[in-house]
């Protein structure tokens, strides 16, 4: 079960306020993210721009796990986010004297939940338990890197390789670019490649 430390207070903060605060705390701890609140399906979510990928953060009370997971998965299915994180808030987290105490409570809490992301087989779910804020960041970064390294980068490198090969093949066949040495000389000059260097060893 999720646990939390810290004093309880007089005010009960709405989940949305906790979501936004949690998003900004994650952003401030190394995600290099711009956290902003968006309207999606009638309720606010926290959208975090993570190096160009969109991460939606959804948080609910811990007794709403199934609803929360369904919503978090739907954010990807709807095309709203590239991946999403569902965070179950420990009981009592919403009670704090003020925002400062709420922030301290969040920083001292441990969370259960799951990260949802697209892999080759559809939407994958990676659950976590008793995770601190720093551990949440590590998990998000891990999923982020996996996605970058395994999917997008490889695909883009292959695509670019195809494009450049196509350009070179077509230029070679047409002879338009290199029917004299002018272009080659210009390119060598621009690139800082002299004939002498190119003939080394």
């Amino acid at each position: 079960m999720p646990t939390r430390t810290g004093k309880s207070g007089d005010h009960r903060f709405r989940e949305e306020a906790i979501n936004v605060l949690l998003g900004s705390l994650l952003a401030g701890r190394g995600l290099d993210a711009n956290a902003e609140t968006i309207k999606a399906g009638g309720r606010p979510d926290v959208l975090i721009n993570l190096g160009g990928l969109k991460l939606v953060l959804e948080g609910r009370q811990s007794n709403l796990r199934n609803v929360l997971y369904d919503d978090a998965e739907a954010r990807i299915d709807d095309g709203l986010a590239d991946f999403s994180i569902a965070v179950l808030y420990p009981a009592g987290l919403e009670s704090a004297a003020d925002m400062t105490e709420l922030k301290s409570n969040i920083e001292a809490s441990q969370f259960d939940g799951a990260i949802f992301y697209i892999n080759g087989a559809g939407i994958a779910r990676k659950e976590f338990m008793h995770a601190s804020l720093d551990e949440l960041i590590q998990m998000i970064n891990t999923v982020f890197r996996q996605r970058v390294q395994n999917d997008v980068v490889r695909q883009q490198v292959a695509q670019l390789e195809g494009t450049i090969t196509e350009i070179v093949d077509r230029a070679s066949k047409s002879d338009l670019f290199f029917d004299s040495d002018v272009l080659a000389d210009r390119l060598k000059h621009a690139l800082g490649m002299s004939d002498g260097e190119a003939k080394e060893d």
């Binding site: 982020f144 980068v153 350009i167």
Partner: protein, 329 residues
Amino acid sequence: MAKQRKTSKVQGNRDLLRIASFILFDAAVFHEALSATHKHVESLRRRTKPLQSFLDTEWQKILAINYEPVFRLSRDILISFPSSQETEWMLGRVCDSALSAASSGVLLRHDFMGRVYHKLLLRTTGHYYATYYTSVPAATLLANLAVKSPHPTWKLDQFDDLAGFRVIDPACGSGTLLSATYMALKDAYILSRPEPLDLAGLHRALVTDVLHGWDVLDFAAHLTLTTLSLHSNRVSVREANVYTLPAGETGGAVRLGSLDRLIPQQELLGHGFTRSSVKKGLSGGREQEVPVEPYDLVIMNPPFRNLSTTLRHSLREFSEQRPCTAPRA
């Protein structure tokens, strides 16, 4: 023999075009990223024909504001091509690929350029220049070990101290190690919980002051600049400390790239990418004095192999004369 020469020339031209296409792609990706934050820079999606003129105009706009380090070489290459349908077709394909890459967004933050450099260009340039690609995991490990291991005099948790830190990769290639060092220093800064968190200021300091790179290839230095700059395309950079140093026999003298730094009385000359650099008038007026500072950290993957006979001989002579003065990389 003549046939062999012709084959070699054709292959050389293919290699040139391969490298030139990649540099154009590299700039086009950056162009697209900048168009999101600079209103007067037109997106590649709204490109007009002729495309060569469109790119030239937009890159001149970018050069006028900033980013000279990244766009100068790209524009030189762009305007090297003749105005023709073939050029238009080629630029169209480059722009399509750049849009695809830029729209994925995430490519702007990772060593995508380095990976392409490795996959596409290593076989083209490696034979001539003894280039060796540093893998991203190895670079990350090395940079983190270097930066995060306790050091008696380094203070990397205060912005001012960090901005005064100096790192050099004397054979920076596509900038993989410098990029990893960027991330390690940024981690150190963020984990120090600064108030306020000034990531824009940090980016500017890292690119313009902290990180230094030297290489013998113009386009490798260009890639390093792009890789570093793309860590935050929202923050413009006017200066950078990335230089191309001559290697080989030029004007009767043998130059050894960054190894020339080890000769105490010799002025280190090279090609810079900064607007305010001091021109020295050599090699078509492009060479300038490379500022040399006392560095806190030297990080590199030494590439000094596969040299020509002349260079190897010079290097041997050099090391025999100074057996103990060369700092360890």
